[in-house]
């Protein structure tokens, strides 16, 4: 009981300050409720990124370079850019998902496949649980920048 109240009040908090969504699409709101998520979470994933990030449209080359290095050491064993491997191809992932969603998937893969309908779907399709590869929030941000730089 206590827990429910906590979760409710927490989600209320998130609701009131989470994201800068001035006008929430009522369709999405319904879906979010259906999956037990806040509209922000439905759009941007569940994890440590709890509000929209301010991402300039210009690619930050230094961030992207650092992200590439991490990606090659810790991610390429499952993800290629242009082919389906043990995980999905990521060339266009920044077109499919919001930046916050991508970072939450990197930082909280286990939580995502448990709570988010999209991640759940992918888990059943690939039968492999994506793992957290021990990266910091800054690392995840750099990986995101690398993926943005590779997007066509």
């Amino acid at each position: 009981m206590k827990k429910i109240i906590l979760v409710l009040s927490f989600s209320f908090l998130l609701w009131s300050c989470g994201g800068n969504e001035s006008n929430i699409d009522p369709e999405k709101e319904k879906l979010a409720i259906k999956y037990g998520l806040t509209p922000f979470e439905y759009e941007n994933g569940v994890g440590p990124i709890k509000q929209k990030l301010n991402i300039p449209s210009e690619i930050d080359r230094i961030k992207a370079e650092s992200g590439k290095k991490i990606f090659e050491e810790k991610c390429t064993q499952c993800h290629k850019l242009d082919e389906r491997y043990t995980g999905p191809a990521l060339r266009d992932v920044t077109k499919r998902r919001t930046p916050e969603y991508i970072m939450n998937m990197i930082l909280n893969p286990q939580g995502m496949t448990q709570k988010h309908p999209e991640a759940k779907k992918l888990l059943s399709e690939y039968a492999l649980q994506m793992t957290f590869q021990n990266v910091s929030q800054e690392d995840a941000r750099n990986i995101l920048e690398y993926l943005r730089s590779e997007s066509k």
């Binding site: 090659e72 050491e73 810790k74 390429t76 064993q77 499952c78 043990t86 039968a127 492999l128 649980q129 793992t131 957290f132 590869q133 021990n134 990266v135």
Partner: protein, 647 residues
């Protein structure tokens, strides 16, 4: 909630209890339901204590939970383990180097937790090798062996590895005296040529790194066990000795003649002074020091050639002999540091020496003789008391911190509880069977956690389902929270549970390492991500730089290997999450398999003998596509010209 659980546990137990009630339930056993509840750790709940049990002749150290008695891990120490590759992989082979060559086994007896201010601190645990004298240090963040140091001028390293109250030193003594340095002499020249040594290994407080600081040359008795002083007796270490007769044949008769043998009280602070005054001599001694480099995740051996030796004859005041009946085995110091309790194996009493009285006797030169210049103190002047009727064959004593001592009696197969100060026996409980050591969590420290005593038994006979002539060894968990000891649980153990130590789980959990960080892995053969996976030929050596992840190897097809090549598989597990090891095995691998933990690099050598196709695969179930985690190696004849290729 709790009552529900109790009822759930109770009802079947009560029924069982009623059925069994007629089958003579001894009064020492807690009632079935009470005992069951005390040792039951519900699914998903964690044990209260980590307990480390030596495996005796199996050379390893096993990790159990208390009170459940569940086994969690066997830590490879002195024996190769083909399950993980310990002692087989290129990274760990060096751990087992000695001056006698590579030794793949030993007999490990006494685990000892490192201490700070006389209390176990959870940094490291040390354990001895008896047969080829060595001391190992296990890192309690990884539960892996971090270091093994050989001890020269020693044999039967039984009185080891006992440590001082801040882990300044780990001490080790020779159970079997030998010529020092070892040489080819007639065994009958024992009295003339054979000596004992007491070794002091310095421990670096930051790294745990061991260094054989000095040895003390002592008369050629059998130095059996040891304990360092604490509190007021800090600065001293006590070693039991038997065979003061200096017999060299049929010891069971010839070494049991004297009514009293000795506890050697060693003033190591005084020894340090003598060393600083230049009294010690460097003598030639070949021994190995093997360290597992934490960054390189690779073991390296250093061969040492000298050791600093103090001759007790030339250093008055560093050793005094406390006469102790009879052929004493264990020596245990109570939490206050005042009482030195001996397990007089063949004595009818437990003699307890007083540290205060000992100092006074030394001051008054209350000696009754000497051995090789070492004064023998007068028994009546140093004894604090004798515990009467302590059972037959008393061996070891631990303490509960509430003023009581618990002594194991091997021959009468029981634990005897007695009171410090009055020396009276207040309780006794049978053990099944032939108890050697016993263990109370923190029971050798300044602040025992008490609660339980564990009996470590040599024989199990009818206690479990029989398994042919060889049956399991056993431990028994006994509740000591009340006035009467109560037997709660029997549980089988791996190898001989010679001795054990336990520590509250919280102390270790907070430092537990879950995986090796890839960024910090500086192994010389690490592969940084899949794009660096490659195969390189160098003459007849082939180096395969391979990565694993769920659920494939990179590369997974290799051609151009030839019969007789030395193929090194350097495998890096790219996972960075808890509990995702991968295994590696290739058909006909006449070495061992590998288990590679997340973020770790391990190497195994394979020399293919015949041309053909060799599959390799992951042996540690890792995911839904584990069965797909495989690859092929093509091996061609020596003169073939199949090009080296991989993908």
């Amino acid at each position: 909630m709790k009552t529900k659980k109790t009822i759930l546990v109770l009802v079947p137990l009560l029924i069982l209890g009623t059925i069994l009630f007629n089958c003579s339930q001894s009064k020492e056993t807690a009632s079935f339901s009470d005992a069951a509840e005390k040792v039951y750790v519900a699914p998903g709940k964690l044990d209260e204590f980590y307990a480390f049990f030596s495996g005796g002749f199996n050379g390893q150290l096993s990790v159990y939970g208390l009170p459940s008695g569940r086994l969690f891990k066997s830590i490879s120490v002195f024996s190769q383990n083909p399950e993980t590759g310990y002692g087989y992989s290129e990274e760990t082979k060096a751990m087992l180097n000695t001056s006698y060559g590579f030794i793949p086994w030993d007999d490990a007896h006494h685990p000892k937790l490192s201490q700070t201010n006389g209390v176990p601190d959870g940094r490291w645990i040390f354990i001895n090798a008896n047969n080829t004298p060595r001391v190992a240090r296990i890192d309690l963040r990884t539960f892996e062996t971090a270091e093994i140091i050989e001890i020269p001028n020693s044999a039967g390293n039984h009185g080891s590895p006992f440590l001082t109250e801040n882990t300044e030193y780990v001490v080790a003594s020779t159970r079997f005296s030998v010529p020092v340095p070892n040489k080819d002499v007639a065994i009958s020249s024992y009295k003339e040529n054979f000596k004992g040594t007491l070794s002091f290994i310095k421990v670096d407080q930051n790294t745990g790194r061991m260094d054989l600081a000095f040895q003390i040359l002592v008369p050629g008795f059998n130095y059996d066990l040891a304990h360092a002083g604490k509190g007021p007796s800090h600065g001293w270490a006590f070693f039991t000795s038997y065979n003061s007769e200096q017999a060299n044949e049929l010891l069971e008769i010839n070494a049991s003649k004297n009514d009293k043998d000795f506890i050697a009280a060693v003033n190591w602070k005084e020894a340090e002074k003598y060393i600083s005054q230049g009294k010690a001599k460097w003598i030639d001694a070949e021994y190995y020091h093997n360290v597992f480099d934490e960054e390189k995740l690779h073991a390296y051996s250093e061969k040492k050639s000298k050791v600093l030796v103090l001759n007790s004859k030339e250093c008055p005041g560093i050793i005094y002999y406390l006469p102790t009946p009879k052929s004493p085995h264990g020596v245990d110091v109570d939490p206050s540091g005042e009482y030195i309790v001996a397990g007089g194996k063949l004595a009818t009493v437990i003699p307890v020496h007083s540290f205060t009285k000992m100092l006074k006797a030394i001051e008054n030169k209350d000696f009754i003789g000497e051995v090789d210049g070492i004064p023998i103190l007068r028994y009546e002047s140093v004894i604090a008391g004798e515990v009467e009727n302590p059972g037959l064959g008393p061996l070891h004593t631990e303490f509960d911190g509430k003023g009581y001592a618990y002594t194991s009696a091997f021959v009468s197969s029981e634990i005897v509880k007695w009171k410090l100060g009055t020396w009276e026996v207040v309780d006794r409980i049978p053990t099944y069977y032939s108890i050697g050591h016993l263990m109370i969590p923190g029971g050798d420290s300044k602040k025992p956690w008490g609660k339980y005593v564990v009996a470590l038994n040599k024989i199990t006979k009818d206690r479990y389902l029989p398994t042919g002539p060889e049956i399991c060894q056993a431990a028994q968990l006994i509740d000591i929270s009340g006035d009467k000891m109560k037997l709660l649980l029997d549980f089988p153990t791996v190898g001989e549970p010679h001795y054990a130590q336990a520590i509250p789980a919280d102390i270790l959990i907070k430092n537990n390492k879950k995986f090796y960080e890839l960024e910090k892995n500086k192994n010389p053969y690490k592969t940084n991500g899949e794009k660096e996976a490659k195969v390189i030929r160098n003459g007849n050596e082939v180096h395969v730089y391979m990565t694993t992840t769920r659920t494939h190897f990179k590369p997974d097809n290799i051609e151009g290997i030839k019969v007789g090549d030395k193929v090194y598989f350097h495998i890096t597990n790219l996972e960075q999450d808890w509990d995702i090891p991968h295994g590696f095995a290739v058909k006909g691998l006449n070495n061992s398999e590998l288990l590679i933990m997340p973020g770790q690099t391990k190497t195994i050598l394979w020399v293919p003998q015949k041309a053909g196709i060799y599959p390799f695969y992951c042996t540690d179930f890792c995911s839904a596509l584990h069965q797909e985690m495989q690859g092929y190696i093509r091996v061609s004849t020596q003169n073939s010209n199949v090009k080296l290729s991989y993908n």
